[in-house]
């Protein structure tokens, strides 16, 4: 039984699993501390246009979750923060948190004056670098907290003083430095999530070489009104409307040379993205190249719905290689048709690689020793006494299951601190 020094709970990562865990525990009466690396809460779902199968916007659920935080003083959070050290044991952890400078303090009202006067532009990480934003920026429209951020390059530039002077509220602090703070908690939930598998490693698909080969996460931004194209799905190379779109499933997944596991969501994600394309282009031809369509549970209904579209062709076969044709416009996919055993070449003018989910713990492990599986996922929910893994650091899966996992982790964390 834990020797409970404190009943508060640390939650690392504020994507759907971490956010849920922190709020659920707080609503049961426990103080929770969220540590989030980004300048905003919510994680990757912020960058999704719709969820499958309902085709509803992730902002909707986030709004409710943020509202839950706003009315609950037990939820505390740090953005642009990372956990540096963990000492101690269940019931009595001492945690060191590193806070990176935002260069904007709590006096910010979100008025946007700094962005207005700023001329420096940076790559927009929120849109996976597909466009640029001002170096003084609000990360996205529903960023929570609604507070601007200054890029370090801007702070070092000649413009810095001008930006500072533009703020009527003295909210810009150019001297802000990275600092640490210590926290005592009774249990820890590790929910640092996933990242898309690096498509540059998939030589055979020409990502990075052919601009019209994009990844599934980029497609989400292309479909979104807050994306680089104001929601218009167009070819990055020339801004033209695509006529034939190919989705390449298992791009690096179920592949011993890349990610040997299945990410569990990409089949549905591609089908969902096919609906984005269909909404904008009623006549576009869509191919989905797959090994197995993994539409478990009632997601089968969504698969059936998408299959009704005669212009969406499900093609059983793994794409071997993608090249560009001579005119430099179309992409040619070489694929083995497993039902006829023929090697076929199919042209498309936009290719979406369904890359998988790699756990962030595979390159940023916990600062304490816990067991991992062969792929860098935390090997079990109870990583060690008092430390629990939740969401996609444990297994790649879709949102509702991640929320389920976050809720379960909240209970486990409470069990570690409950005074009996």
């Amino acid at each position: 039984m834990a020797n409970t020094e404190t009943q508060s709970i640390l939650v690392v990562g504020s994507g759907m699993s971490g956010l849920t865990a922190a709020i659920e525990a707080a609503e049961a009466g426990y103080d929770t501390y969220i540590v989030e690396r980004n300048p905003y809460l919510g994680g990757r779902v912020n960058q999704l246009h719709h969820y499958f199968p309902k085709l509803c916007p992730p902002y909707c659920g986030l709004e409710i979750n943020f509202r839950r935080i706003k009315q609950n003083p037990r939820v505390h959070f740090f953005t642009m923060a990372e956990v540096e050290k963990i000492f101690g044991e269940e019931g009595d952890f001492e945690v060191t948190i590193r806070l990176s400078p935002r260069y904007v303090n709590e006096k910010c009202t979100g008025c946007g004056k700094c962005a207005e006067v700023c001329t420096m532009e940076i790559e927009n990480a929120f849109n996976y670098g597909m466009d640029k934003i001002k170096a003084a920026y609000l990360p996205h429209d529903m960023a929570f907290p609604m507070r601007y951020v200054l890029d370090p390059a801007l702070v070092k530039s000649d413009e810095a003083q001008k930006i500072k002077d533009s703020c009527p509220y003295d909210a810009i602090d150019l001297e802000m430095e990275s600092k640490t703070l210590d926290l005592k908690v009774g249990s820890i939930i590790w929910a640092t999530g996933w990242k898309p598998y690096d498509a540059n490693k998939l030589d055979m698909y020409g990502f990075g070489q052919y601009p019209d080969v994009i990844t599934n996460v980029m497609m989400e931004r292309l479909a979104s009104w807050t994306g680089p194209t104001k929601g218009k799905i167009i070819r990055p190379s020339d801004g033209e409307a695509p006529e034939t779109i190919a989705f390449v499933q298992c791009a690096g997944s179920r592949d011993e040379n890349h990610l040997p596991f299945c990410s569990g969501v990409c089949c549905l994600a591609s089908m969902k993205q096919a609906t984005y394309v269909r909404e904008q282009y009623p006549d576009a031809k869509i191919y989905i190249f797959f090994i197995d369509i993994r539409a478990t549970d009632r997601l089968e209904d969504f698969y059936n719905r998408v299959k009704e579209d005669e212009n969406i062709q499900f093609f059983k076969g793994k794409v071997a290689k993608i090249t560009q044709d001579e005119n430099g416009k179309d992409l040619v996919l070489r694929v083995e048709d497993t039902t006829t055993e023929e090697l076929r070449e199919i042209s498309a003018d936009l290719v979406v690689l369904a890359t998988g989910m790699q756990p962030n713990t595979s390159d940023t492990p916990l600062p304490v020793e816990v067991p991992y599986d062969d792929y860098g996922f935390v090997a079990s929910q109870n990583a060690k006494p008092g430390i629990y893994a939740a969401g996609c650091v444990r297994t790649p899966t879709f949102v509702s299951e991640v929320v389920q996992d976050g809720t379960a982790a909240a209970l486990k964390a409470i069990q570690s601190v409950v005074r009996r």
């Binding site: 525990a25 609503e27 049961a28 009466g29 246009h49 969820y51 199968p53 309902k54 509803c56 916007p57 992730p58 909707c60 659920g61 709004e63 409710i64 979750n65 009315q71 609950n72 009202t109 979100g110 008025c111 609000l138 429209d141 529903m142 509220y169 979104s224 009104w225 104001k230 040997p260 596991f261 299945c262 197995d292 369509i293 993994r294 539409a295 478990t296 549970d297 009632r298 997601l299 089968e300 059983k316 039902t339 055993e341 599986d373 792929y375 079990s380 929910q381 899966t397 949102v399 509702s400 929320v403 389920q404 996992d405 379960a408 982790a409 909240a410 209970l411 409470i414 069990q415 409950v418």
Partner: protein, 746 residues
């Protein structure tokens, strides 16, 4: 509480530049006779907040109107205990979306201030609901399988007492009959250690176990449930705080399968469930004669993903087949084992198990329509191998294992809406209820699990295919009956690891529900809300609207059809308030009267001023946030609109439409969430009910010689802010074309 109102106007963030704030102050002081009205150029600053606190401490201000940014931001700065606080959104929804310095912009801000003054006049601070009975912290778990036992143990470990009810004579459920398991990390098969779990549960002194028992009756609500449990002819009563429904599943009846699959044609054609039950001394043997098995075929998706049987995928059968195939291989390395599949579904790390099965020499055949040939002793399967492009015949099979799917136990029993329909057809005397036919009803089956004494039916309402699951991707535990959380395979098909997690998740929600209920607060999605509906019963006409429309079954009925609200079940959406034709239902801080007063506070210019007025009733979670984001993007839209956020559009009472029209308001637009199969309304049916109510208004409008175009329902999601300005502008144009409301100036 004696109210002393103070109005604060922030002039920061461009407000002072775009508006004449002096003039705005006069609305408060001259029109509203508000005793305190102050301006500040940075109200959310520490200094600004102190400025307000000073009035609270020294001037006795307790009713604060803060005209500044949206309530969605600076919530922590403007948080004053024991004060009524209303935020007037003159930043995002006025100066950031309207022309600065314009007369119409000014009129908009002034109206919003008037509306806020009317609002605070008509609201009180809520006082938390305390039931007469003491709140129970005990948790009832229905179902003693893996999920139920895990739930019980998890709740006990968190300090709660548990009552566990299992219908069979012993604990264990389906997993109790399983030999080996395949679960995380899916590297192979493992021994089933369920017995250890059973021991742990039975030895835990916080858990009271009833086997061979069922729940006869459940009355009350969260915190105050009373469950009657029967066992061997005796009954026991327990006071319960919250319930976890882990009643599990039944295998799909193999007798219903297509003949082609050969079930019944040979004793050696069995199901995946029968496989688990046919171990003989730890070994699997041929069912017909107990001999060794050397040739086995597994046929996947038997009666699954099939519109004539189970249209969904049971998610676990691929892993189960891999496990069972590996068990045969472990028993006899030389056995020929075939898995005939349609799609191999091994998500996540379970792909490793698939890989292992391939390494172990199990043969996989992809085929959409295999056929079992059984005659006498001989058993064979014919399959068209899609990958080889040729027919494959598996002969001399000792056993064929059909992967039948999981049916939730909630799928059994008569649907009460069907029952009621039939009853109604017989019973002409109930004609008075025909008016309620427009309300979409839920599927609730008499599955004899909880036997709720609820007006709305004895069990949980279900989604498609009878799973009492949540419809919300972001909120998988959003059951339709407050304080009752389904978990495990009754909720959706799932494997061992997921079921264990689900058990913990459902217990988390149950504990949280007890905690919030004991504070008198609402649970999700209006968590923490202390307000609750109060019924002025002397004016009730027993029309049953409120009881039938409540999406959460929170209102019972007495014999005279009087509503009996069960507050701890209530989610505080206000659907009952919107439904009530007599307007007898109100919350301390949200009422028909309050919104009515806000509407009446809108200054409607004379016809010759050519300034129509449009009322926007917006869902506060989605449409209102979308309007804020339009402001953040500095998108401009029509200045005639006046927005009132609603808890849910389902709380819209039709009298507001009448109020608006008689006031001279020219048009009314409702901005609500999508309804239908993929509904996005967080109160399930709120937006749909609002739409239904509104459709009835057109008739009334025509009778009053008013054009039906004046009233519109528009489906808006939270990310629709790109098109929202155009929607509003277009509606304004329509209203302009229709012309002024003839009731103007009456």
């Amino acid at each position: 509480m004696e109210k002393k109102t103070a109005v604060y106007i922030c002039t920061g963030c461009g407000i002072g530049d775009a508006l004449d704030t002096e003039q705005l102050s006069k609305v408060a002081t001259d029109e509203g006779s508000v005793p305190i009205c102050r301006n500040h150029n940075y109200l959310c600053s520490q200094e600004g907040v102190e400025f307000i606190k000073n009035d609270i401490d020294n001037e006795g201000a307790n009713t604060l109107i803060i005209a500044a940014c949206s309530h969605r931001v600076m919530y922590d700065a403007f948080n004053f205990e024991n004060c009524i606080v209303d935020r007037v959104n003159i930043r995002e929804q006025v100066v950031w979306c309207q022309k600065p310095g314009d007369e119409d912009t000014q009129m908009m801000a002034e109206d919003y201030l008037r509306m806020a003054m009317a609002k605070v006049d008509n609201m009180e601070l809520p006082e938390p609901y305390k039931p007469e009975e003491e709140i129970s912290r005990d948790i009832l778990v229905v179902g003693g399988g893996l999920t139920g036992m895990t739930s019980a143990l998890d709740a006990a470990k968190a300090g709660h007492s548990v009552v566990l009810v299992e219908k069979e004579s012993q604990l264990g459920g389906f997993q109790g009959r399983v030999q080996k398991v395949a679960t995380f990390p899916y590297k192979g098969t493992e021994d089933n250690d369920l017995e250890a779990l059973i021991q742990e549960v039975t030895q835990n002194e916080k858990i009271k176990v009833y086997t061979g028992a069922k729940v006869d009756k459940t009355v009350g609500g969260p915190g105050v449930f009373e469950a009657t449990i029967s066992q061997n002819g005796t009954t026991a009563e327990h006071r319960i705080g919250a319930i976890v429904l882990a009643a599990g599943w039944q295998p799909y009846d193999p007798k219903k399968l297509d003949e082609k699959l050969g079930f019944g044609a040979s004793p050696n054609v069995i199901t995946n469930v029968m496989f688990e039950e046919s171990f003989n001394g730890g070994e699997i043997s041929r069912p017909s004669d107990g001999k060794d098995v050397t040739n086995v075929a597994f046929l996947q998706c038997a009666g699954q993903r099939d519109p004539d049987h189970l249209p969904y995928c049971s998610s676990v059968c691929c892993v189960t087949a891999l496990k069972q195939a590996l068990q045969i291989k472990a028993q006899n390395q030389d056995a020929n084992v075939f898995v005939v599949y349609k799609e191999m579904r091994t998500p996540g790390q379970s792909e490793d198990l698939y890989r292992k099965a391939q390494e172990e020499g199990i043969t996989f055949i992809r085929c959409q329509s295999p056929e079992v040939k059984a005659s006498g002793e001989s058993l064979a399967v014919e399959a068209e191998d899609e990958l080889l492009g040729e027919a494959v015949i598996m002969e001399d099979l000792d056993m064929v294992v059909l992967a039948t799917g999981m049916v939730p136990v909630t799928a059994f029993g008569m649907d009460i809406t069907q029952e009621e329909k039939e009853k109604k057809e017989e019973d002409e005397a109930k004609k008075g209820e025909e008016d309620l036919d427009d309300i979409p009803l839920d599927v609730i089956r008499r599955s004899d699990l909880l036997n709720l004494e609820y007006r709305q039916g004895p069990e949980l309402p279900a989604l498609r295919y009878d799973f009492p699951d949540s419809h919300f991707i972001c909120f998988p535990y959003e059951s339709r009956r407050t304080g009752i959380y389904p978990a495990g395979c009754v909720r959706r098909p799932m494997g061992i690891a997921t079921a264990q997690e689900d058990a913990a998740g459902a217990v988390m929600k149950a504990i949280q529900c007890i905690e919030l209920t004991s504070q008198g607060a609402a649970v999700h999605p209006r968590v923490g809300d202390m307000s609750f509906p109060e019924f002025a019963m002397q004016r009730c006409t027993q029309c049953k609207r409120c009881t039938v429309e409540c999406p959460f079954g929170a209102i019972n009925e007495d014999e005279e059809a009087n509503p009996l609200p069960q507050i701890t079940r209530c989610r505080r959406c206000g659907v009952c308030m919107g439904a009530c034709p007599e307007r007898i239902i109100s919350f301390k801080n949200y009422s028909v009267q309050m919104i009515g007063a806000m509407i009446k506070a809108i200054n409607v210019p004379e016809e010759d001023e050519e300034k129509p007025r449009i009322l926007v009733l917006a869902c506060e979670n989605d449409a209102y946030a979308a309007l804020d984001m339009a402001g953040i993007n500095r998108m401009k839209y029509n200045a005639w609109i006046r927005v009132i956020p609603l808890r849910c559009l389902g709380s819209m009472n039709l009298v507001w439409i009448a109020d608006s029209l008689s006031k001279g308001i020219d048009g009314i637009i409702l901005l609500g969430c999508k309804h239908g199969d993929d509904y996005q309304c967080h109160f399930i049916k709120g937006s749909e009910l609002a739409d239904i109510r509104l459709s009835k208004v057109s008739e009334t409008l025509n009778r009053l010689a008013l054009e039906s175009e004046r009233v519109r329902f528009e489906t808006v999601s939270i990310i629709d802010y790109d098109r929202l300005p155009a929607v509003l502008d277009e509606f304004a144009e329509t209203i302009d074309e229709v012309g002024p409301n003839p009731f103007k100036g009456w």
